[in-house]
């Protein structure tokens, strides 16, 4: 713990990452209390105050139907974080298990699992997600499904490589010799040694998942209105650039802060765990 603090203190960028993410997470959790107009997350129309530049009480301005952008961004963070966490919560266990099994057993198991993974990796991620969303209804659940489908193979790759290296360690052989089961060796001996790398990648990825999800909703394939979403807010505002600049700039900055924050935090974790990639 003391070492962790020392690393954070010694590296201002890491500290900044922690700060930004704390800001994003707290504002998502306490959106109900922070947002000046909590009801604006839904389908509210206020034509008196529509398309206003930043001014009190609308610090980020209002959108084309008069909703407070600041409030909507806070709620959009909530959706983005939920999406990121759910996607990783599904993609990581799948990817990690496939990687462990392929790496540990080798042979045909490895050949088949890794080639399937390669197939997923060879499709451009956005194209895969777009075609899935095109086939299915463009809802939040399907958005998560699409992003998950393109995300797990990266964990398989990572864990597969780590497992190949860990498998050669003496303690794996020692565990085999004392008669430990394969499940024990994979999940209790090898997996814990991969955890630092997985956690680091997850932190970095949270930012990227948010970015990809925003790209999808920018294209109209993600979260549907009136639910606030950073990507669709940028898309909507882009039509009115440069006059109503606040419509695009603030949601865009919000994405930037989240992605940048998770990246810095990921780098900090990498340093704390001593993972090299």
């Amino acid at each position: 713990m003391r070492r962790t603090l020392a690393i954070l203190a010694g590296n201002p960028l890491s500290a900044l990452g922690v700060l930004l993410i704390a800001l994003v997470v707290l504002s998502a959790i306490f959106a109900d209390f922070i947002a000046p107009f909590p009801e604006h997350r839904g389908a509210v129309v206020d034509f008196v105050n529509f398309n206003k530049p930043p001014e009190w009480p609308y610090i980020f301005g209002t959108d084309l139907v008069g909703r407070d952008l600041f409030s909507r961004i806070l709620y959009a963070y909530r959706i983005s974080l939920i999406l990121g966490v759910v996607v990783l919560a599904v993609a990581v266990p799948i990817g990690v298990t496939v990687g462990l099994v392929a790496g540990y057993f080798g042979g045909w198991t490895e050949a088949i699992l890794m080639r399937i993974t390669d197939v997923f990796l060879s499709i451009p991620p956005l194209v895969l997600a777009m075609s899935m969303m095109g086939l299915l209804e463009p809802t939040l659940t399907n958005g998560m499904l699409a992003v998950t489908a393109m995300w797990w193979p990266w964990y398989t790759r990572l864990v597969y490589n780590l497992t190949r290296a860990e498998k050669e360690e003496g303690y794996v052989l020692a565990a085999e010799v004392i008669g430990a089961s394969k499940a024990h060796i994979i999940f209790r001996e090898i997996l814990p040694n991969c955890v630092p790398s997985i956690l680091t990648k997850m932190t970095l990825d949270l930012g990227f998942v948010i970015l990809i999800a925003s790209s999808l909703s920018f294209l109209g394939l993600g979260v549907q209105p009136p639910t606030p979403d950073l990507g669709s807010m940028v898309a909507e505002g882009a039509k009115y650039l440069p006059d109503s600049w606040w419509l695009t700039v603030f949601p865009g900055l919000a994405i930037l802060v989240a992605v940048f924050g998770f990246n810095l935090l990921g780098d900090a974790l990498r340093e704390i765990f001593g993972v090299d990639q």
Binding site: G170, A174, E176, I178, G179, A180, P192
Partner: protein
């Protein structure tokens, strides 16, 4: 006469590769009596370690390994046992120590946690307190000064010699009747190696454990073993009591091995023939060198 702890008769091992079957062991015979310390000596690639892995039953699981011959453990034919029965023997009746003690311990668990796993093999219901107490007693036996501290440490916090002692204590924790030591301590420096080997000899003697000691280091073997088998190119070429072997090596390969030891007193590295006609010609074992009752 009770059955020897380990009896190997005419053991063959081959690996199926794309280029056909490569034979690695050409019919090895050896035996280890109860409480006997037997060394298997040979150069790299002579088949020492595969023999050990066959005994513990790790190689049989590999695809492409072709094994034939008799492997008998305490009078039971290992090849006839079911997978579950073989599995039950590992870690309880037979255990193994490896070259590098530090990498043999998982870096993310404390020594105590790993000790508990080992003890659970024999007594699945053992609780933490009882396991720690037993572990501390075992560590005390291998002369570890502060067992409680060591049990709470991670392997990378301990020295190589310390880890080696921990490994010895773990290997003997479930009172196995056979301990296979695959070049133990080769990764340690010589003074620590000598200390831990002496310690290991005392401990196995006290427990009455039989040991199959695999090494390329004749000096170490001389100190540790009661009896020595010399293995060369997948064949046992000579077998003798340790004292007799060093007194009077009969097989040309054994003689070459002895000459190959660099002297502390200098004189440069000895010149030895890479592979003389004489070692190969009698790959049939020299008279009087072989395993009694073995098939050569």
């Amino acid at each position: 006469m009770t059955a020897p702890t380990l009896l190997i008769r005419d053991l063959h091992l081959g690996f199926k590769t794309y280029g056909g079957l490569v034979e690695v062991l050409h019919g090895i015979s050896l035996h280890i009596g109860q409480g006997e310390r037997v060394a298997l000596v040979g150069e790299s690639g002579s088949g020492k370690s595969v023999t050990a892995r066959l005994v513990i039953g790790l190689l049989q699981m590999m695809r492409g390994a072709r094994v034939s011959g008799l492997l008998q453990f305490e009078g039971r034919n290992l090849e006839k046992l079911s997978a579950a029965e073989r599995h039950a023997l590992r870690g309880t009746r037979m255990s193994m120590i490896f070259q590098d003690p530090t990498s043999s311990l998982n870096p993310i668990y404390t020594v105590g946690a790993q000790f508990q796993e080992v003890l659970r093999r024999a007594a699945p219901a053992i609780d933490r307190a009882a396991a720690m107490e037993k572990a501390a007693r075992l560590l005390d036996e291998v002369l570890i000064p502060d067992p409680a501290r060591v049990l709470a440490s991670y392997p990378f916090q301990l020295s190589g010699g310390m880890n080696q002692r921990v490994m010895i204590a773990m290997a003997l924790a479930n009172e196995p009747s056979l301990l296979i030591a695959d070049e133990p301590g080769t990764a340690l420096d010589v003074t620590v190696q000598a200390q831990t080997l002496r310690l290991m000899r005392d401990v196995v003697e006290r427990h009455g454990t039989s040991v199959l000691f695999i090494s390329h280091n004749l000096g170490v073997v001389r100190e540790f073993a009661d009896r020595v088998y010399v293995i060369y190119k997948g064949r046992i070429v000579e077998q003798a009591r340790t004292a007799d072997l060093f007194e009077n090596p009969r097989h040309p390969y054994t003689q070459a091995l002895m000459r190959a030891i660099p002297r502390v007193t200098g004189g440069g590295l000895p010149e030895i023939e890479e592979e003389s006609e004489r070692f190969l010609e009698p790959l049939v074992v020299h008279e009087g060198c072989g395993e009694p009752g073995g098939m050569a």
